[in-house]
Symmetry: C2
Subunit: 653 residues, 2 copies
């Protein structure tokens, strides 16, 4: 019998259950001052001494009794007898009496009897006498003991994250070590027979361990100390003893994987063997539902799901606040901004959803682009996005244009160059050249050609990469006009060779689209809306016209027409693995997988650029890179990509 989730609890209930058994406790440690940068103070720190510890000269000159100088004038100086000299760091040996002065250096202790310092510039030395040309008032050029910091004064408060400012102040007060919160020690374990350590050889069916590294890094970002235990195999006894060992050296343990009902709910059984065992089994959160929380004595064990995005969502929502609490960090995590949703979104009722989004700033504020698809399996969902939108349990749909709150993963800084549109390896090459010129921060969001055009129209993107073929056979210009984009220009980019991809040696002797109609040929299609799909359908429509059948009739007779791969690579993989015989894609991917390529046409990959951004330095440099010799050379090295005579041509729309 497969075990399914029972007793799924809300996020708040899971917290309540956890905190009835476990109180996050702050431990402290003493560190030397010079290692305390970035640490969090565990107690209020008071000054041990006055700063300055004595009345201190703030200028080079002569310590005097101010009263003696009251009659001094530029042309009628007062003459005082110099008794000696005080250097910085020395205790004065003399006392200043009426009519006397002592030479004094900046920072030196003002001798007894003196109540002011005359700057050297206003004196003239003659042997053991000086002429003073200006009067000083009592206290002038003296910094009194304790006037900066008073002994006993509170100089840094518990909970302060120490910077050079507090550290300097504590040094001034003679403090050489400080009590800070000890970073909570968190052991991180990944589970699963399919996991391989990055850097090692990947056998078929295996994947690299992501969670050990991303969770450990996130533990550290939240003020903890991560102990990477490594990968535990799907062997209950081994997993149990690994966790038990980890509990000994850590304040708590995070595992990931082996939580789903299908995997036999292994982690639940293992964690329930500890005492008191599992307290939460399933949380109403999306992604991340199968999470388990258990306790061994008073130490928690968090069993996160194996999917990286699910694991990280549960980590951020449930685990991170506990680490921060134990580390004494009171700052709120991540800033929040308000944005408008760029696309409609559906959410699951009864689960709180954390939807990864990209945020871009347009003329009318921020827009949030949700990351599409079943993203919990995708490692890019977190890595390439700016933050997430929290969708409450009761909400099942958010409309396009609806205002939402985005919790940012880090400080959102406006990119110097924002590119939204179709992805191409040529854009990556352009951006690497651009960065060589200046350290621009570019941001690329791949939403396809159509999405890019709309983003430029709305002012969210500076540049959109687009390769949309019109029925007239012209690339980009006609379709952009259809979308009514007027505030932009089209800059011609480069050529990308599209063709039919077939197995090595072309065993089924495919020559063109007509062969897709053959009984013995299986096709793999691309997703609707992609430039490649539009190209495919254009070829098929021609054939339908020629054969005088409807387009629907024609495509119904193509085996695999309804199988939609999302990327060029997926097409190549399907053909390489023998699942399909033919697909449409770009040449570079075909050769990467050792497949045969039958050229169809060169498509024009162009850049739509907002007019009001043409003068932006990053945009100007981007266009210079596009027409550079270096770009031409680099592009040539990628099979099927090349610049041509129109590269860089600007078309007004």
């Amino acid at each position: 019998m497969r075990k399914v989730f029972r007793d799924v609890v809300t996020i708040d209930e899971s917290r309540k259950l956890l905190f009835t058994h476990f109180k996050p406790e702050r431990k402290t440690e003493v560190v030397p001052l010079h290692l305390a940068t970035g640490r969090v103070l565990a107690r209020d720190v008071y000054a041990l001494t006055d700063v300055p510890p004595f009345d201190r000269a703030t200028m080079d000159g002569y310590a005097v009794r101010a009263e003696d100088t009251f009659d001094a004038e530029e042309d009628n100086p007062v003459t005082l007898k110099v008794l000696g000299e005080v250097e910085a760091g020395k205790k004065p040996e003399v006392e200043v009496e009426r009519g006397k002065a002592v030479e004094i250096a900046t920072g030196a202790m003002v001798p007894k009897g003196a109540n002011a310092v005359v700057m050297v510039e206003y004196t003239r030395r003659r042997g053991d006498e000086i002429d003073v040309f200006r009067p000083v008032s009592p206290g002038e050029n003296i910094m009194y003991a304790g006037s900066d910091v008073m002994a006993g004064e509170l100089i840094a408060r518990e909970g302060t994250k120490l910077t050079h400012r507090e550290i300097g102040l504590m040094a001034a007060c003679g403090i050489s070590e400080v009590e800070v919160y000890r970073k909570p020690r968190v052991a991180v374990i990944s589970t699963g027979n399919e996991l391989v350590r990055p850097g090692e050889k990947l056998e078929e069916g295996k994947i690299y361990d992501v969670n050990s590294y991303s969770i450990a890094a996130a533990v550290e970002e939240n003020g903890g100390e991560a102990i990477i235990i490594g990968i535990a195999r799907d062997n209950e006894e081994e997993m149990r003893s690994t966790i038990a060992k980890a509990l000994k050296e850590a304040d708590f343990v995070i595992t990931s994987g082996s939580t789903s009902a299908g995997a036999g709910d292994v982690m639940y059984r293992i964690l329930d063997d500890f005492n008191p065992g599992v307290i939460v089994h399933g949380i109403a959160i999306k992604p991340g539902k199968p999470a388990v929380i258990a306790l061994s004595d008073s130490k928690p064990i968090f069993g996160l799901p194996g999917y990286p995005t699910s694991a990280m969502t549960v980590f951020e929502v449930i685990v991170a606040p506990i680490i921060r609490e134990m580390a004494g960090i009171t700052e709120k995590e991540g800033a929040k901004i308000r944005a408008r949703l760029a696309l409609k979104v559906f959410s699951a009722e009864g689960r709180r959803e954390f939807l990864p989004v990209n945020v871009v700033e347009g003329c009318e504020g921020f827009s949030a682009y949700p990351v599409s698809g079943s993203y919990s399996g995708a490692v890019t969902a977190f890595a390439f996005t700016d933050g997430f939108v929290e969708i409450p349990e009761s909400v099942v749909m958010l409309e396009e244009g609806e205002e939402v709150e985005v919790r940012l993963f880090s400080k959102l800084r406006p990119a110097d160059l924002m590119i939204i549109g179709s992805h191409c390896i040529g854009v990556d090459i352009l951006l690497s050249l651009l960065r060589k010129r200046k350290p621009y921060m570019s941001k690329v969001i791949n939403v396809g050609s159509t999405g890019g055009i709309l983003a430029v129209k709305r002012g969210e993107a500076d540049v959109a990469g687009t390769h949309l073929l019109d029925e007239s056979g012209v690339y980009n210009e006609p379709i952009i006009r259809k979308y009514g984009v007027k505030n932009a220009v089209l800059v011609k980019g480069y050529l990308r060779e599209q063709g039919l991809i077939v197995a090595k040696g072309n065993p089924k002797t495919i020559a063109g689209f007509e062969d897709l109609l053959r009984e013995d040929v299986t096709f793999i299609n691309r997703n609707r809306g992609s430039g490649t799909r539009i190209l495919t359908d254009m070829y098929l429509r021609e054939i339908a016209e020629r054969k005088e059948v409807s387009f629907q009739e024609l495509t119904a007779s193509i085996k695999g027409y309804n199988i939609e791969a999302k990327t060029h690579t997926s097409v190549a993989v399907a053909i390489a693995s023998g699942k399909a015989d033919v697909g449409v894609g770009i040449k570079s991917v075909a050769s990467q997988y050792g497949l045969h390529f039958i050229p169809l046409r060169s498509e024009e990959y162009d850049f739509l650029i907002r007019k009001d951004r043409m003068e932006k330095p990053a945009v100007k440099d981007f266009l210079e890179c596009l027409t550079s010799e270096e770009f031409a050379e680099k592009l040539e090295k990628v099979e099927g990509l090349r610049v041509y005579e129109r590269t860089g041509e600007v078309i007004s729309l």
Copy 2:
């Protein structure tokens, strides 16, 4: 002959001079992925493999040919033969043919022949057969190879500061180590015979070394690695060889101290001995003018002034950008905000001034409170302020209310509780109790009672601590009314015993203010505007009336009336050191210095609170602390402070 500054150059000129001799160079190093958090990527990183590396099941269930399920219905299932099982991490041994299915686990590789996965929930197993109750479409519950990340895809760009997000993504692509920018190694040396290491005993005339610690911490905050060399004594040979040794292990060297003309300009001479030697001798910056920049071969040596605030200003303006450049950090330092100056400020013509300010948010935006006085000697100028205002070389005055730009030292977060006013140790006790209740962020700016009242009036402070005695003999209320504060209430605080402070044993047998008129008695006064000064003058005015002389006449006959100490401690120190015989101050300070205390009266230290902040949680908790048992007990332990029957009483204004 003393050497004075020659050839003082502007900040921009100093940079130009430096960069004609020195090019900040970025070095790189390779670190394992799990140690890369927070480091800056030195080159673009491309995916080595597809993610996922194969077509992967996203659900537990059965791998099937979608076509076989098209007729499946809830009450008319399709039956398929189960050929076997694929676990995650294993290579499938079977191929799925028409009418067949293979049991598959989440994450496992989809076997050949299959093009969809039916979720286990929609099947029923019967021996080696399953009934399928719902159709699946091609591709359903499959994540195609490379659909997350394509091999060869750019996954992280040069210049990225690595977080858990990029680290997880790189792990997923099998990357086990990354090339990052090596942190520039910066040697830090303090110079001066007066310096003592924090933690060691402070002899008379000595002060603690601040700059080694604050500069090292600031080096690290800017992405460098600090090497603290320690204190070099004022011995030219020793200093030269210490610097020469430091240059061998560091990318560059920072010294502080020994730069002023008065100290014989030691550092200039030492640094000019290197080859090519000094290139900048004096910078038009305030504070920080005596800074020296030299080169030894191609390595710079920055000779910063000894005063902590001067040293840190030159560090921030000249050195920090170089460290950031070498560390590959392209983020701009510190945020900037616009604020109105709360006080008029004078600045030196011809020098660019960096004026430390406190920033508070009021009803009409931000106000910037300049830190007054000759702050370059004060360690608190940087530590207790929020940022600085850059005043150009040509500006000599900024008006109160003028809009300025403040460069923040760190993220400015609105404090939960903002207290501006007179400083008292009782407030420190209240805040430590408050923090025990909740991790509130409080901010305290000590500007004296009058400044506090005005800050509450303008909405910049929630609470002001005030102890102002009116001529009527009533504390606070009448004076606050005079200032026309109507949007606030006065909450009675506690009593603070003021009295005459005299030497131990009261050798001059002082009994009261009348004794100040004696020939053999020297008084030390407090600064105008302080509550203590107002109290002093009130007593003296009574005596003048009684003696029927003018107030001016009376005070002219008091020796030391014109010497103004700024704090209670300065008064105590003056008496302890024998510079004065008597002063006015609070009891706790007198006993701290072992002095004799003659009580005068208990002053009422009260809190002025804006009405619209009375419901703020931090204010409510603050008032609860004020009337708590614990506060009463803690206050009692400080000599001269105590709660009384009016503590907590609220007076409408």
